[in-house]
């Protein structure tokens, strides 16, 4: 049986932890708001880009010398997995669920006899994937020095992917990130980057509405410029969604941690009070029986 002092110490330590988790929850809530706003502000660019691309792709359909980023290399032997995770932990299952999705994907590709290469964006995913895929990880992008992800970081990652694609290092690229649904639901998502996936009718509808476009300089030249940007935009969107998801996951993780700490404090206080009363009763009995003996 723990002594009263032990119990007091235990309660004090849980209280201190609760204060930390509570503070982290509030910080995450504030950051989540900002991340959500950033993700929303970035949406118009991504949707416009998708509709422009859908328009273009619909009008060039069937042309033989389309850029390879749209049509693919005609092969799917080597896959590139771009895994975006957070730089920090303490956000529930956020990092591990993205890593798990990537790992499942990688394992099924390996089982089919394909080669995989992995680019890790974010330290946590790298830490997790390093254990199983140490040899396949070809690059690790560290975003710790940037407080908020911006377009420039996405551009940096995008450039790396495009350079490797141009060098013929892989055939298919897939982006892994967590889509932000709500504070309690973040959905790990795999999104194909290369060959580019073109939005269907929804995109075309939002765009020109079937108008006949003129192109300057030419459709292919525009596609050549548009595709790398579209890739970067997708990575950018992924990073922003990830940022919001991370804060959301941290918020709910810290919320339940705070609640658990509260419960623990309640239980420990109950034990503490019982022990204290038991001791007082024991002392009283000792005094009374001592007095009776006189």
């Amino acid at each position: 049986m723990a002594s009263l002092k032990d119990l007091r110490n235990r309660i004090a330590s849980v209280k201190a932890t609760q204060k930390i988790t509570k503070a982290m929850q509030m910080v995450a809530a504030a950051k989540l708001r900002r991340a959500q706003l950033a993700a929303e502000a970035a949406r118009p660019y991504a949707t416009r880009m998708a509709s422009v691309l859908a328009n273009l792709a619909a009008s060039v359909g069937g042309d033989a010398d389309l850029p390879r980023m749209l049509t693919g290399t005609g092969d799917d032997k080597t896959h590139l997995l771009v895994v975006c995770t957070a730089e920090r932990g303490l956000c529930g299952a956020f990092n591990s669920s993205i890593a798990r999705l990537a790992r499942e994907h990688a394992n099924s590709l390996l089982a089919e006899g394909k080669t995989i290469k992995i680019i890790c964006v974010g330290k946590k995913g790298h830490d997790i994937l390093r254990r199983t895929f140490a040899k396949q990880i070809i690059e690790f992008v560290d975003l710790r020095e940037f407080r908020n992800v911006g377009y420039e970081q996405a551009d940096m990652v995008g450039r790396k992917v495009i350079e490797r694609f141009a060098a013929g290092e892989f055939d298919v690229a897939t982006l892994f990130y967590s889509r932000f649904r709500s504070v309690i639901a973040q959905i790990p998502t795999a999104q194909q980057l290369i060959p580019a996936q073109v939005a269907g009718e929804a995109g075309a509808e939002a765009g020109g509405g079937g108008a006949i476009y003129e192109y300057e300089p030419s459709q292919n030249a525009i596609l050549d410029q548009l595709l790398p940007r579209n890739l970067t935009v997708q990575i950018f969107t992924g990073l922003l969604e990830n940022a919001a998801s991370e804060q959301g996951a941290r918020m709910s993780a810290m919320d339940s941690a705070t609640r658990n700490a509260g419960e623990m404090i309640k239980k420990q206080t109950l034990i503490y009070n019982r022990t204290r009363q038991a001791q007082i009763t024991k002392e009283l009995i000792e005094i009374i029986s001592g007095a009776e003996a006189l």
């Binding site: 660019y45 416009r48 020109g208 003129e214 192109y215 300057e216 300089p217």
Partner: protein, 133 residues
């Protein structure tokens, strides 16, 4: 003069959205001006100034570095990765942009792309000269 809807969108946010009379674009094959009812065009942009003419106020000039213009029946949209409004533009900021563009160009191998990048730097220098004047 009739107006049409114009939007300038950067990856991070919408920079401009409103009814305008005309928009001047630094399109890849020469500057062009878009008025209401323009035929649908999709064009790439080079480094240069967008000129936004709003009804009843002075023209707004925006420095863009590459991007796309999508001119459709419903209105025009410019997707620009880097855009700076000329009111907010300072010589220092331009110097930073020039330095950035130069470092990008230096990293490139010789070829058409590098020439484009160098031409972009020249246009940025021009912009600086007009700003000083």
């Amino acid at each position: 003069m009739s107006t049409f809807h114009f939007e300038l969108v950067a990856p991070e946010r919408i920079l401009y959205s409103g009814e305008v009379e005309s928009v001047g674009l630094p399109a890849a094959e020469g500057d062009m001006t878009v008025l209401a009812g323009h035929a649908p065009v999709m064009a790439t942009l080079k480094t240069g100034f967008l000129v936004i003419a709003e009804p009843g106020s002075a023209d707004k000039r925006v420095l863009v570095q590459g991007g796309f213009a999508d001119i459709g029946p419903k209105g025009a949209t410019v997707l620009a990765e880097r855009a700076l409004f000329s009111e907010e533009l300072t010589v220092d900021e331009l110097d930073r942009e020039i330095a950035r563009a130069r470092s990008v160009a230096d990293a490139m191998e010789d070829g058409a792309e590098k020439e484009d990048a160098l031409a972009a730097i020249v246009r940025l220098e021009d912009a600086k000269a007009t700003l000083r004047a």
